[in-house]
């Protein structure tokens, strides 16, 4: 109803217009999630999946120390990656927003996201080559006499984190930059006129107002990193197991889709918890 009591035809039309989007969401997102949730309650029998309902897969997951450790590893790595990416991306975004001349900002942004244009897999393998014992870092350090023998930097958790941070810094730079350029210059000028130091202006004006962009970028980083299989598989060298790798182990090696589904549901619950934690700060209109 419109405010004057007459039927609101535009509201009715809007509801009808939303139907295709709702249908697509139901078909492509809700239904597959429902199928996955159903699979997580089924069983694997003789190599085939049978629809006998139980919580056995969840019990198996929760009772398996190695799988729980995989979840813990995933959380550790993802939180570290998110924190490091924010720390590295924020200064870059700040420089781009406030120190790079406006006419050069577009070019600078393009340069910042250039690595996005190469294949994710190729980028990961490139890092492995850079970090390898025959790689450029070891060769330079050996050439400079800093080290006597090559240092194994690839195939470690550190390499996984490095690969992730390299990727997500670009994403966070974009979302933070978008937030920073929306802050009116008059706010910072007014604070300065009232005697605030540059540090106070940053801490009391710029940082709080840019947090929505940081939160969106951090949330996306968390979600994408915790579900990523490729980077830890290529750069981690199998030194430890993250949850996506453990899921893949069930799918590719045993075709145990029910257990893999249960593990995926757990992963989704973690992401949901992360969303709730970020929810207050997630303001997409500011990005």
């Amino acid at each position: 109803m419109a405010s004057d009591g007459r039927p609101d035809r535009r509201g009715g039309l809007a509801r009808w217009a939303a139907l295709p989007a709702i249908a697509v969401t139901l078909a492509l997102f809700v239904a597959p999630l429902g199928v996955m949730a159903a699979h997580s309650l089924w069983a694997r029998d003789g190599g085939a999946t049978v629809a006998s309902w139980s919580l056995a897969n969840y019990r198996e997951f929760l009772g398996n120390e190695a799988l729980l450790a995989a979840l813990a590893n995933s959380l550790e790595v993802t939180l570290l990656v998110t924190a490091l990416s924010v720390i590295v991306a924020y200064p870059i975004a700040w420089v781009l927003a406030y120190r790079v001349p406006r006419r050069l900002q577009r070019l600078a942004l393009v340069l910042a996201v250039l690595p996005f244009w190469t294949s994710y897999v190729i980028r990961s393998y490139s890092w492995l080559l850079v970090l390898s014992e025959n790689g450029v870092i070891n060769q330079v350090l050996l050439g400079l006499g800093v080290i006597d023998a090559p240092v194994g930097m690839g195939n470690t958790r550190g390499a996984t984190v490095l690969g992730f941070v390299h990727f997500f810094v670009m994403l966070l730079t974009l979302t933070t930059f978008a937030s920073l350029v929306q802050i009116k210059e008059s706010y910072r000028m007014a604070a300065a006129d009232l005697g605030a130091s540059p540090l106070q202006v940053f801490l009391r004006i710029t940082l709080p107002l840019s947090l929505p962009g940081v939160a969106v970028g951090a949330f996306l980083t968390f979600v994408l990193a915790i579900g990523d299989y490729v980077t830890p598989q290529i750069l981690g060298g199998g030194r430890e197991l993250l949850l996506p790798q453990a899921i893949m182990l069930q799918v590719a090696r045993r075709a145990d889709f029910p257990l893999a589904s249960a593990m995926s549901v757990v992963l989704m619950l973690v992401v949901t918890a992360a969303y709730l934690a970020f929810a207050k700060r997630l303001r997409m209109d500011r990005v």
Binding site: R44, N155, G238, E240, L249
Partner: protein, 361 residues
């Protein structure tokens, strides 16, 4: 929809296969017989090499569309998501043929259409490739889960002893292939446990040895990862590696090599069959015949994706290729290798639990 399209009977299958046999004898049927037709094959990546497909396509006029997968589970998912008749040819691990046949996915093949006299007898394996006396897949390629290494950085003589898999001498120089079944079976062999004798109560010593190996390993990963480790110098030894991991790289790096330890190796094999729902069984059967023939076998063995041993002794290989594949040692290797053993569900779960613990250690 004409359901009969998808309900080929044994008679039509055999009739089709017989036709295929006669066509094959006439040089794969000639170009006109299949010109413009397309064959859809679900394969391991070695079959995606254009050099392998070209002779067949040229001789029949047909186009072979290949889709590669990275595990039987993935392949079965692809089949499940497809319509009957979408796929014609299936390349699958020999150990998985029984369950795929039991699922009704494979068509019966005419036993006498294939060169069994030239195929290594150890690979015939009726328990895998036949069901109720009927042939469902033909062994086409095999190899070993054994040891691959860089000759310049290790003592090759050490590589023939299983205990080198957990020797401090090579601490930090190991890359371990991350497929649990063959790798655990190889470790078991090193401890004197043959794959067929593997039971849950024998997993303890294997687990202990794996945990020891983890402390010595630089890398645990899939084929590409362990290959990469060997090439970049991150590791010098691939445990559970073999000809499939290094043969294709030996031209560029002659220091790479592989061998079976004296205690034995694990023999893997892949087979090729025709989908029961295929509407092009004649052409598909001809493709199987081409692959297991001398020309196809030579090209398949040296595929750009990965090399391995051809099942057919008459495979067209030159002297250098035979050297790379240690062709002269095959009789000894075949005798000293054990069939890849697929555990039952309970043992499989127990093995994967041990393996997951190893990965997480």
């Amino acid at each position: 929809m004409n359901r009969n399209r998808y309900e080929a009977t044994r008679r039509t299958a055999l009739a089709g296969a017989a036709g295929a046999l006669s066509a094959a004898m006439a040089g794969f049927g000639g170009r006109r017989a299949f010109a413009g037709e397309e064959l859809n094959a679900l394969v391991w990546c070695d079959h995606t090499d254009p050099a392998l497909l070209a002779p067949f396509e040229e001789s029949t006029g047909a186009k072979v569309n290949v889709k590669d997968y990275e595990g039987t589970g993935t392949a079965l998912s692809l089949v499940e998501q497809s319509q009957p008749g979408d796929w014609d040819v299936f390349v699958v691990d020999s150990v998985d043929v029984p369950r795929v046949a039991e699922m009704g996915l494979l068509a019966e093949l005419p036993d006498d259409a294939f060169p069994w006299g030239d195929i290594f007898p150890e690979l015939r394996q009726p328990d895998l490739h036949y069901r109720d006396g009927k042939l469902y897949a033909v062994p086409e390629k095999f190899g070993y889960n054994a040891i691959a290494y860089n000759r310049d950085r290790v003592d090759p003589a050490d590589m023939r002893r299983a205990e080198m898999m957990w020797n401090d001498k090579y601490a930090g120089r190991y890359a371990i292939y991350d497929y649990y079944i063959p790798t655990m079976e190889l470790v078991g062999l090193g401890l004197g446990v043959k794959p067929a004798e593997l039971t849950a109560d024998k997993l303890g010593p294997i687990r202990d040895k794996l945990l020891r190996m983890k402390t010595l390993a630089a890398v645990v990963g899939d084929v590409v990862t362990v290959q990469n480790a060997l090439v970049t110098g991150a590791a010098d030894i691939i445990i559970s590696g073999g000809e499939y991991a290094v043969s294709g790289l030996m031209t560029e790096n002659p220091a790479l090599d592989w061998v079976i330890p004296d205690e034995g190796g694990i023999r893997w094999g892949q087979a090729i069959g025709v989908f029961a729902a295929s509407t092009k069984r004649d052409l598909a059967t001809q493709f199987v015949q081409y692959i297991v023939g001398a020309q196809g076998q030579g090209l398949l063995a040296t595929s750009s994706c990965y090399w391995a041993m051809p099942s057919n002794r008459t495979a067209a290989l030159d002297a250098g290729q035979k050297l790379t594949l240690r062709w002269d040692e095959q009789p000894g290797f075949l005798a000293n290798s054990h069939n890849y053993f697929i555990p039952d569900a309970a043992l499989d779960q127990a093995m994967l639990d041990v393996w997951t613990e190893f990965l997480q250690a």
